[in-house]
């Protein structure tokens, strides 16, 4: 805290500081004479200083607050000269407002001494307002001249967020364009992820051992895209279990996700021609409480000892509890999540892990649906653009050109 003060004194306008100090001494001396007190005390005790009158502040501008709903006005004023003459005499500034010049002014807010701006956040768009600012001391207050009228205006676009808007438009357009391309061109190439073989292997082993497959689709409901991505993988897993005649157990956190899973699995059983083997009761609601759910699933693992555990979707602190309990029961474990904080635990404790975006890509790739694959292609192009953007940004910065960075600025 000491440093800024030093810097202030070192500033070129040292003269003003000196002059002010001189004024201060004079004023203090006058006060001392009037009140008959010791000079040394005078400049530091505001109670004494209150016996002379405060000079009023002066309003400089009334402006509409930019980029808002049109419900606020920025007020700026010149500080009362008293503040620099007798520090501590003014305690705060009150901002007063009236709907017309001759109606009564009411207080809308206050700021501590030394502050010269205030945003009045309670105005009606396009309505005129008049303002005064009062400097308030311990026993007296002085009101500035009236200023006005000021208006607040609605804005239809938040200009500070232009960079965000551009990137939203860019990514959305890329995805949509490549979905269209995929519709016309048919299937596109997508790198094969090693997890596909792992899925088959895990279900195959469960069948051999005559144990069931446990599928957990995470803590979130269908409004989390990860849960929906998990569904496309579930469709493939269910096809396999239907094929092999292995039981598929799905405890759910949310009722909506539960009915979605039921529908997905039912369709898969239908596709491989075994609709009779579908058992809706294997897909059931457990609880929406995080650790209540963990306690329940751990119980299932220990009692039924499923041979393959899938954890695909959004996971939180329970990730490692699942993975370690599953390991003790000897299950092959396949995980995938876009929750960055939980990835380390899955990577360490599971046999295969889909990292972040791979969760989304795996579903698309497994379904073989050209539309989904097309949107993955769109994501890839976006990544390529990010790559170029970053490289270009760094290179330009080294030449002192900053606009690529400025575009991304959000205040």
């Amino acid at each position: 805290m000491r440093e800024p003060e030093l810097r202030q004194l070192a500033k070129p306008d040292r003269d003003t500081v000196e002059v002010m100090r001189l004024k201060l001494i004079i004023v203090a001396a006058i006060i001392a004479v009037i009140c008959n007190v010791d000079i040394a005390d005078a400049s530091t005790t505001p109670q004494v200083a209150d016996s002379i009158s405060i000079l009023p502040p002066r309003i400089i501008s009334l402006k509409d607050t930019p980029n808002d709903a049109g419900t606020s006005i920025d007020i700026e004023w010149e500080l009362s000269p008293t503040e620099s003459l007798i520090p501590g005499m003014i305690i705060e500034y009150q901002v007063l407002r009236a709907p017309s010049p001759d109606s009564t002014f009411e207080q809308v807010g206050s700021v501590p001494a030394g502050t010269s701006t205030y945003t009045d956040e309670g105005t009606i768009p396009n309505k005129p307002y008049w303002y005064r600012v009062a400097a308030v001391g311990r026993e007296q207050q002085v009101v500035s001249e009236m200023a006005g009228p000021g208006h607040s205006v609605m804005q239809w676009f938040d200009r500070r967020r232009i960079g965000v808007a551009i990137f939203v438009a860019l990514t959305c357009t890329l995805v949509m364009v490549f979905i269209e391309v995929a519709k016309r061109k048919g299937k596109m190439f997508l790198r094969r992820l090693p997890v596909f073989d792992a899925i088959d292997e895990a279900i195959g082993r469960a069948t051999e051992m005559g144990r069931k497959v446990l599928y957990i689709m995470g803590q979130m409901d269908v409004d989390d895209p990860q849960t929906v991505a998990s569904m496309s993988i579930l469709a493939r897993v269910a096809e396999r279990t239907a094929d092999y005649g292995t039981r598929l157990d799905i405890p759910c956190v949310w009722p909506m996700a539960m009915s979605m899973a039921r529908e997905t699995v039912k369709e898969s059983y239908l596709r491989v021609g075994k609709p009779d083997e579908f058992n809706a009761n294997d897909i059931y609601y457990m609880t929406s409480d995080q650790f209540g759910y963990v306690a329940g699933v751990d119980g299932i693992m220990m009692r039924d000892r499923p041979a393959a555990n899938f954890y695909l979707g959004s996971f939180f602190a329970e990730s490692l509890i699942f993975a370690e309990t599953g390991y003790t029961t000897g299950a092959i474990q396949i995980a995938g999540t876009a929750e960055v904080d939980q990835l380390p635990f899955f990577v360490v404790a599971c046999d295969y892990t889909l990292i972040g975006e791979e969760l989304y890509a795996a579903g698309a790739s497994l379904s073989g649906d050209p539309i989904q694959i097309g949107s993955i292609r769109g994501q890839d192009v976006a990544k390529a653009i990010f790559f170029v953007y970053i490289v270009a940004g760094v290179v330009l910065k080294l030449f002192g050109i900053n606009w690529l960075e400025t575009l991304l600025k959000i205040d």
Binding site: M1, V111, P112, T328
Partner: protein, 274 residues
């Protein structure tokens, strides 16, 4: 079966037992590893050291029992420091489940250890709802937003509050915080309006986010997690919960590293055999 073979099939329950022992033993047999005091903790200590006697310190209990292992030790250490320096303490909180924690802390330190008098040396206003709005009003008029204390006593009957009316009568605010409402509100709605000294204690997860506020001077001190609390305990020269906890932490961390080394040793031996 060789040793390596047997170790590689080590029952996990022995690992669990080892963890329980590593965390428990230091509770009974402290190791007392030296704890380096970091600057943000020392800063807060110095500020409290420099306060004039009988100055008022406000401690805001903005956490619930799940934050208690990390934040309660810090609360105790700060209370101890305040009473040692003969300061007056005003306790309140913006988290309803935190009230019992504040009461417990005062009982332990103010009553049992320092035998201070309630209403004269310290007061407890319990849970105060309203978040940001409450803080704005608090700075303006303490009596208006704290009409009765946690036991239902009117504020007029608490002698300590006779000269505590607004922000300018409070020498220091310390927000013990694990989320919202908490330190953010104290910074944005209290400190921004009324200035005055403000410090915070945070959980280990939350602490890194507050370093920038230290640089700008909005915070005059920061206690991060159990480690920060242990540092403060060292400064006030007590062996509190956090100091014991840090021994447990050291033991548990070393145990894990030991298991990693053991695991790799087994792995290496098995690979060599093949």
């Amino acid at each position: 079966m060789g040793v390596v073979e047997r170790l590689s099939r080590l029952d996990r329950r022995y690992i669990f037992l080892a963890v329980a022992i590593a965390v428990t033993l230091p509770i009974f047999f402290p190791i007392g590893l030296p704890i380096e005091v970091t600057a943000p903790v020392k800063q807060l200590y110095d500020v409290i050291e420099d306060l004039p006697e009988r100055a008022v310190v406000l401690i805001s209990i903005d956490y619930d029992p799940s934050g208690a292992p990390e934040l309660q030790p810090a609360t105790l250490a700060i209370l101890r420091h305040c009473f040692k320096r003969n300061l007056r303490v005003l306790v309140l909180g913006m988290w309803a489940p935190g009230v019992p924690l504040g009461m417990k802390a005062l009982e332990e330190i103010a009553e049992n250890e320092f035998h201070r008098q309630y209403g004269i040396d310290y007061v407890n206003f319990g849970y105060r709802p309203g978040g940001a709005i409450f803080l704005i009003n608090l700075g303006r008029d303490v009596h208006d937003v704290c009409r009765t204390d946690v036991y239902g006593t009117p504020v007029e009957d608490l002698p300590m509050m006779d000269d505590v009316h607004s922000a300018s009568d409070i020498a220091l605010v310390i927000s013990m915080s694990m989320g919202v409402p908490g330190s953010d509100q104290w910074i944005w709605y209290y400190h921004a309006r009324y200035r005055g000294k403000l410090a915070t204690a945070q959980t280990a997860i939350g602490a890194p986010r507050y370093y920038p506020y230290l640089q700008t001077g909005q915070l005059i001190g920061l206690i991060g997690g159990m480690k920060g609390a242990a540092e403060y305990e060292r400064l006030v020269q007590t062996r509190g919960l956090a100091t014991i906890g840090m021994d447990s932490q050291s033991a548990a961390h070393m145990l894990i590293i030991g298991f990693v080394i053991l695991g790799n040793f087994i792995f290496w031996m098995q690979k060599r055999k093949r």
